[in-house]
Amino acid sequence: MSAVTMVAAINAALRDAMDGDDKVVVFGEDVGRLGGVFRVTDGLSDRFGPQRCFDTPLAESGIVGLAIGLAIRGYRPVPELQFDGFSYPALDQALNQLAKYHSRSGGLVDLPVVVRIPSFGGIGSPEHHSESPETHFAHTAGLKVVCPSTPGDAYSMLREAIECPDPVVYLEPKQRYWTREEIDLPLRTEPMDQAVVRRAGDDVTLVAYGNAVATAMAAAAEAEVQAGLAVEVIDLRSLAPIDVDAVVASVEKTGRCVVVHEAPRTLGIGAEVAALVQERAFYHLEAPVLRATGFDTPYPPARLERDWLPGVDRVLDAVQAVWEQ
């Protein structure tokens, strides 16, 4: 066992996947010589050569489109879009093409593409470096969207995503890049489409993913200290599809549900979770499903992000509201 950062875990997953299958190729802006602006691809170009890990021109749409072509040809591309905000220039290729090509080919062509996107905020960055792009992808049929919150999951889910015959958008919570976990690699955790309970409880269910899992855990600890509540924290891990059974099983137990995410509130993953919960656990609900989220504004400048992001206080507000309902 050693303390592995999420960056190192993702790096190891890419290395092991490339070792295991020479059709796995990694490319993107600055991923080669520099090893990525977050050093996620450090050493891959040296180890596997510029044929399999290479820098691209500045062209996000091109990066995803290139991956599609490589996949049609039988490769397993793992392109990187450097930042969440820079995934938007690639949305045409991602939403119109990557998501639909399998269907368009009459099911004859698989697209085992994993688009890695360092995502979400909380790192004090300039504009477009802290977006929460998940809804755009999760709302598009044909894309799987996953988001690890721990180094172990980051490794395991990336390996599984690369093995997956379908396109996967793999969102990396860059705020968690440097957190460490005592693990042995290689490691396989739960299948990537399953949610897991990070902390069990029967009073309130907190549903979160990515950066927000840590916030939810902190809020759960506070709720226990302050009010004796046993708050269950569910790490969704997969945003498309959502493991609704896991959420419903928890809400049937607690009767109270709060969804936490950084993305703006309107039409976020929280809206979908709330809808699923009321569809599937209506009779169990003691209180409305609440959302502790970012606001419906552009992501704020760095100096204001602490006020804007859903922190422990905002989560506790929601927990208290559903608990005291």
Binding site: V37, F38, G122, I123, G124, S125, H129, S149, T150, P151, K174, Q175, W178, T179, R180, E181, E190, Q194, A195, V196, V197, R198, R199, A200, D203, V213, A214, M217, A218, A219, A220, A221, E222, E224, Q226, A227, G228, L229, A230, E232, D235, D243, D245, A246, A249, S250, E252, K253, G255, F282, Y283, H284, L285, E286, A302, V312, L316, Q320, W323, E324
Partner: protein, 483 residues
């Protein structure tokens, strides 16, 4: 004024640095942005400019030594001429975060100020209107545990969490308003949920709070909530002091109909009664097994599981028992001098509602499977309490059951639902001292009472019926041989 220069976030993705070389010594005068020191991270060497003008007072870190982001590198005495240089910089100015106060809270990443490293905390303690006793600990601990927490499956191995009362949001609201604990309410909804009527009934019985009120319901003498006598000042004797005139309640609607039917029954039917105790342990075990199966098995049906009450199972057994005594499933036509024995069992179920006693009918109960009957029973009961039964659902019964046990009563003497020939009363299932296998034992038992029209049948019929029902309740496997 002495100012500290803390190692800032160098934006190189690492948390610490090593001092390579100092470019100043203690006592040196430095100007703004003079190179103070060269530090090395694992990524690069970086020269750090002095943020102050003044005299170097302290150099904390030796060459070759390391320090973490946020630790003090140097102190500079700015008392002579430093104020003008950085007029607006308070002591905390040089935190890597630019945070106004407090310790270093950001850990660098490669772009931007970096991420918070202090544990996320709430702003103070908040006022909770509801709390739980401390000491109930979740499976895992605190906020830093995320990285190393073994995850547990979201769905417990048994497939279903601890049962909670089911109810629609308005029902929960009603329960809260009426101060009714849903856990204490017997659910009658088709999915096993507590209905608004269940809550009102629970609130009502709690309000009257005495056996007489409950017996009244069992005997079909329920009153509307707003027609119940209300005693100012509560239940104490003092409440009677001011005004001893009786309160007058008009008899109309369902109440009038109940009065009419009860009078008809008692005035025309020469009734007799018989009763016996049954051991319900097997019945309860059967019910538990069936519920578990429905909740977690392949035919998962949570609502169905909730509807599967002991009373529902017993009601389902009644048509089988009636085969031993068909004369109890009959009616006496005095004018025609005929006893009509019904081939089908249409089961009336006496149900207390806000309006008063109603008897919805499970038509063709003899032909229904257990889950079908239980579901139908739950639906009819709910509709009865919601007042939405159709006339068909209120007529045509050939035999009636009344479950005053649900009101906590051990025993009762029900009134035959004319023109039927008999009625079965079911007392509360509760642990009682009993003789079992020749030994004194505590077992769940219930008193079954059959009141019958002695014009139609005799005590022996009642004895056969009750005896068979007792056998089925106590040995449910006998049902396997009934068809």
């Amino acid at each position: 004024m002495r100012r500290d220069f803390l190692l800032p976030d160098l934006g190189e993705g690492l948390q610490d640095a090593t001092v390579v070389q100092w470019h100043v010594r203690v006592g040196d005068t430095v100007h703004l942005n003079d190179r103070l020191v060269t530090v090395e991270t694992a990524k690069a060497s970086v020269e750090l400019p002095s943020p102050f003008e003044g005299r170097v007072a302290l150099l904390d870190i030796g060459e070759g030594d390391g320090l973490r982001v946020g630790e003090r590198l140097a102190s500079i005495d700015t008392s002579e001429d430093g104020e003008a240089a950085a007029p607006r910089a308070p002591d905390a100015a040089l935190l890597p975060t630019g945070a106004p106060t407090g310790p270093v809270t950001r850990q660098p990443v490669l772009v931007g100020y970096g991420v918070d490293v202090v544990p996320q905390r709430a702003t103070g303690r908040r006022e909770w209107r509801r709390r739980k006793a401390p000491g109930r600990r979740a499976l895992d601990g605190g906020e830093q545990g995320l990285g190393t927490t073994p995850s547990v499956p979201a769905t417990p191995p048994n497939g279903f969490p601890v049962p909670r009362p089911l109810a629609k949001p308005p029902v929960r609201w009603l329960a809260r308003t009426l101060d009714v604990d849903l856990h204490q309410v017997r659910p009658t909804g088709s999915r096993g949920e507590v209905t608004a009527e269940d809550v009102r009934a629970a609130a009502g019985s709690a309000a009257t709070g005495d056996a007489a009120g409950s017996v009244g319901v069992a005997r079909g003498e329920a009153m509307r909530q707003d027609e119940r006598p209300s005693w100012p000042g509560g239940t104490g004797a003092s409440g009677l002091a001011g005004d001893d005139r009786p309160e007058e309640i008009p008899v109309r609607g369902v109440r009038a109909r109940i009065a009419e039917r009860m009078s008809l029954s008692r005035s025309t039917i020469p009734e007799a009664s018989a009763g016996l105790w049954v051991d319900c342990e097997r019945l309860l075990a059967l019910r538990a097994a069936l519920r578990d199966d429905l909740r977690s098995g392949s035919a998962r049906d949570v609502g169905g599981a909730e509807a599967l009450t002991p009373f529902a199972i017993l009601a389902w057994m009644v048509p089988f028992a009636l085969r031993s005594a068909p004369l109890l499933n009959a009616s006496f036509d005095a004018a025609a001098k005929v006893i009509r024995v019904s081939r089908a069992v249409h089961l009336g179920v006496a149900t207390g509602t806000e309006l008063g006693l109603l008897v919805p009918v499970v038509h063709g109960a003899h032909a229904l499977g257990l889950r079908e009957l239980a579901g139908e029973l739950a639906r009819l009961t709910r509709w009865a309490r919601e007042g939405t039964l159709t006339p068909e659902q209120l007529t045509g019964s050939t035999f009636t059951i009344t479950n005053y046990g649900a009101l906590g009563l051990d025993d009762g003497l029900p009134v035959v639902n004319a023109p039927e020939a008999a009625i079965l009363g079911v007392g509360a299932i509760a642990p009682r001292a009993t003789v079992h296998d020749g030994e004194l034992a505590v077992r769940s038992t219930a008193k079954l009472t059959c009141v019958f029209d002695h014009r139609v049948s005799d005590g022996a019929d009642a004895a056969r019926f009750l005896g068979r029902l007792k056998a089925l309740v106590e040995q449910p496997e006998l049902l396997l041989g009934t068809r």
